[in-house]
Subunit: 578 residues, 2 copies
């Protein structure tokens, strides 16, 4: 990972590539790399779909090595959804493969003059950029069939579906999993639209002949990595909850906490929660020959993913994530696990962010386009997005635009991005993260559900304003750093609760880079990344006024706790005063 | 005009009204009143369609008096289009009638719990607020037929069409003219959507039994008013150009200047300009029994409006304004005056801002929804808006949303509001106004076309950056003040060029209020109003970064002068440093 691949898609005569040394970006990985490049190179006031925007794809610092759980990849751009900086993070195979190929980043620049669609092939021998308009309009699944026919299924792919081609603000970038299925997505903030605006349909990564990236201190690395993996196995969340039921272990927990947004954030309890819980899904998966315990990429210890088969026992989609189950389940009043799985498949195929889409359909239901609980309508609406009808275009633009177009006031967004699966009134710490993260409403940016609900990393009353600022601040800093390493964020459960596992993580990274890493060093890195992001947003015109939840969260009490969001504006403004 | 009428549309048990003294708002009229109330009373971060927003309707300081040309009315709110403060200004009969009824403002507050639609009747005996759901869905013309049947045609009406009921960000508030037709509109920024969100379909104003508002010094007032009217008659623009050809006298002039935005701002010259010029329209109107010289309200000296009949000699619409002719003409590549008039009628009926809609259809044409020049498609698209189809909803949301939904980069908006009929590259002074006005892109906010093109109020090279900041600043200050008086902005031509006429205006106002008014006093008033507006916007999260034109105006040279927008960002930031 000592080089950067830049491809100018708008060069005269066709795409031009160059491979550069890391230069000033040395030491940056994942979100550190994407946010540094976007902040430094993209004019903050540019149109997100213009030639001036860039799409940066960066494996984590440890990706491509033998480090357990280090397969996350970051996609950065100026977001078509928020207008601010965006890092969207995904699992799948690409990060490890790109790391082994030696690229610390792929940067797509410029914009093709014509509307040709391109395939980029990267392997040990170099890079090819080929126009291939026969790929136009293909869903991610059909696209992978085509790629498999040409390149086999040992490669890893980064691609967009029809939504990205149509440059929809809810479009994701898809990454193939271990079965060469396009099930992992950098969904949030519309990076798929930026990839579409660059005219790139798919990037095929072939690491045949490449080796694992070697650590500077192999012995220390091996030992620390082993201890670290054991630490993950030992923690109740990463060792039991997530492997058994996936992220959807949360449906019952968050519903019990009264924080499961239901019918477009009108209640924190959903009567149908048990029918769509992780426990129910795991049983279904087992009974149909699927698998509730599976990794999304090689090197995964936690195994929080799974395989979901349909009623006939045929593969339908990966085990839907908790946020997807919430988005298309309780948020739309739907309690049918098969319907949710069908929509998950559809959205993976079209290349859409399931969180944004579920929130959007909730808003559309509030606008009267369908009734809450109407499964058929929900499926129909997602299909419309793929067809690119005017209604589909609206929905594919996300919850905020859908609310504007249909005159809806209750639209759960911050900075134009839809809130995920935790009501900020019943998990006030996550409300602070939603409000203040440079990314817009984003649970992963500072997952205060830990101390607010799960009792991980301490305990902070979720219904009170007290302690939430500090909680969110510390988590946002830590998360920015973790997102730079390639580590899956789920390691947080173990490192927050187990000081030894935290030290093991520091030792793994230290041994890999050949330089001792301290907790202070992690904090420093996180602050540096957040500073890049905050600086970009400020230059894009964001102020503290955009660090706010929509007004109705302060006015409408959420059942069953009948609580409003209580954190004061002036306190929100202290989150980044460190 | 010593009282304010407040109606809380969301009061328990139904709308509650109260009549208050002016209090702290004494001395404020028109835009001064609306911007003071919005700035003081509306939470800047509220949702524009929420109960917290207010709709303020305020006649000018002189409205209802015998002052010539004083019939303008201001409508203020937090804009659903821009998210900032909005004052949208209209002619028609209402201002004079409301002034004579003694109301300095009507303030609609709150939001009905149900979706009942209301009619408000205001006359000498008081105010009635009546639910009348039989009015739902009526176009403004059919609505006026209904009102006429109940109230005769001597009343004045303020109403919304279907677009306002659907809460579309491009929805206007309509005002009846002297013939009781709903042809005058507070169009910009979506005030019709806010009126719709308050559940108010129409306000009927009946000044039977009311007298002209008396000046403090009747003799001085009468004399000054007479001289002032003579001054208007004397100036070439207000005495000849506007009466003969209306505002559309500008099509040939602006086309000649190479500043007539054509085909979504890709050229400043339109080959079909002569076919849709004011000269052509005047001939058509005369030949069909219409009238090119007509006032929009009683007391108008300039008579820039007119009556447009169809091919059979039947009334179709008022003489389309220049900005409407541009919007649906050159901007969409259409050169058929009957098509433009037909769309003008449609939009008056639906209650839509013609500027926003023309710019929006230009963006839709760039997105490939229709070809530039396709008249039938343009008419069909406007009809879709009225039908509230998903496509119609998109278009009714304005150019910015339409661009986002269809992935278009070249979208001519500032602060979410579409640019009007003057390309900022060929009239750089108006570009400064577009960029910096608190209203979003708005030509009336500081009409630098005067010195840039018309040679009125001096001469500043339109293609150079030099002198534009000062020009726009002075015009924005003067305009804010004029918009508070009720005076039609067109008096600016005469008062800028004729010092005597300017003094006559000061004398009219001074004699009316019984207090000498100086040029410095006018400037002070204008600065005060702009400060209210800028302060609101700052609290709503606007920064200097929103005081910018879209990037492509700095990059794409506009034919025929092949010029880009040259005013530097740091200079734009000096506009309000007075």
């Amino acid at each position: 990972m000592d080089k950067i691949l830049r491809i100018d898609m708008g060069a005269a005569g066709g795409p031009q590539m160059k491979v550069e040394a890391l230069g000033g970006y040395a030491g940056m990985g994942g979100r550190g790399m994407t946010s540094a490049v976007i902040s430094k190179e993209v004019p903050p006031l540019c149109h997100p779909l213009s030639a001036e925007n860039k799409l940066v794809i960066a494996p984590g610092l440890l990706s491509g090595s033998a480090a357990a759980q280090s397969g996350r990849i970051s996609v950065g751009c100026k977001s078509p959804l928020t207008g601010g900086i965006k890092e969207s993070n995904s699992g799948g195979q690409a990060s490890q493969v790109l790391g082994r190929l030696g690229y610390a980043a792929i940067i797509l620049e410029g914009k093709p003059a014509k509307d040709d669609l391109y395939k980029i092939i990267i392997n040990q021998s170099g890079v090819q950029v080929l126009a291939d308009n026969s790929l136009k309009g293909l869903g991610n699944y059909a696209l992978m069939d085509r790629i498999k026919a040409d390149h086999g299924d040992k490669v890893a792919c980064i691609s967009i579906g029809p939504a990205g081609e149509m440059k929809m603000p809810a479009a994701s970038v898809a990454f193939t999993d271990m079965e060469f299925r396009p099930t992992r997505h950098a969904g949030r903030g519309g990076p798929g639209a930026v990839m579409g605006s660059k005219g790139v349909k798919v990037i095929v990564l072939d690491d045949a002949g490449c080796k694992l990236r070697p650590p500077k201190d192999p012995e220390k690395f091996k030992e620390a990595n082993k201890r670290f993996a054991q630490g993950l196995k030992k923690h109740a969340v990463t060792g039991q909850g997530l492997p058994s039921f996936g992220t959807n272990v949360l449906t019952n927990i968050i519903n019990e906490a009264g924080a499961l947004p239901t019918n477009n954030f009108t209640s924190g309890r959903f009567s149908g929660a048990a029918k769509i819980s992780g426990e129910t899904y795991a049983e279904l998966e087992k009974s149909r020959g699927g698998n509730p315990t599976h990794g999304c990429h090689r090197g995964c210890v936690i195994q929080c993913s799974g395989i979901f088969n349909d009623k006939n026992g045929n593969y339908l989609t990966k085990q839907p994530e908790y946020e997807t189950v919430w988005a298309h389940g309780s948020n739309c009043g739907i309690d049918d696990p098969d319907v949710i799985a069908q929509i998950d498949r559809l959205e993976d195929d079209l290349g859409l962010d399931t969180i944004e889409m579920g929130a959007t359909i909730g808003v559309a239901m509030e606008a009267g386009l369908a009734k809450f609980g109407d499964s058929e309508a929900a499926i129909r609406l997602v299909k419309e997005v793929g067809q690119g009808t005017p209604l589909g275009r609206i929905l594919g633009s996300g919850a905020e635009i859908t609310g504007k177009v249909f005159g809806v006031v209750r639209v759960p967004t911050v900075k134009g991005q839809a809130m995920p699966a935790y009501d900020p009134r019943a998990v006030q710490g996550i409300g602070v993260t939603y409000a203040t993260s440079p990314m817009g409403a984003d649970h992963t940016a500072g997952y205060a559900v830990t101390a607010n609900v799960l009792g991980v990393g301490g305990s902070v009353n979720p219904l009170s304003a007290e302690g939430q600022i500090e909680l969110s601040r510390n988590l946002q800093i830590a998360t920015a750093a973790i997102d730079a390493t390639g580590y899956c964020l789920f390691i947080a459960f173990a490192i927050l609760d187990q000081p030894d596992t935290f030290q093991d993580m520091l030792d793994v990274i230290g041994a890999f880079i050949g330089q001792e890493l301290t907790a202070a060093g992690v904090t420093e890195l996180g602050k540096k990344i957040l500073s890049f992001e905050r600086d970009f947003n400020a230059r894009a015109g964001f102020t503290s006024k955009q660090d706010r939840l929509p007004g109705y969260f302060k006015e409408e009490a959420l059942p069953p706790h009948n609580v409003v969001f209580k954190v004061a504006d002036q306190d929100l403004d202290q989150v980044f005063n460190w």
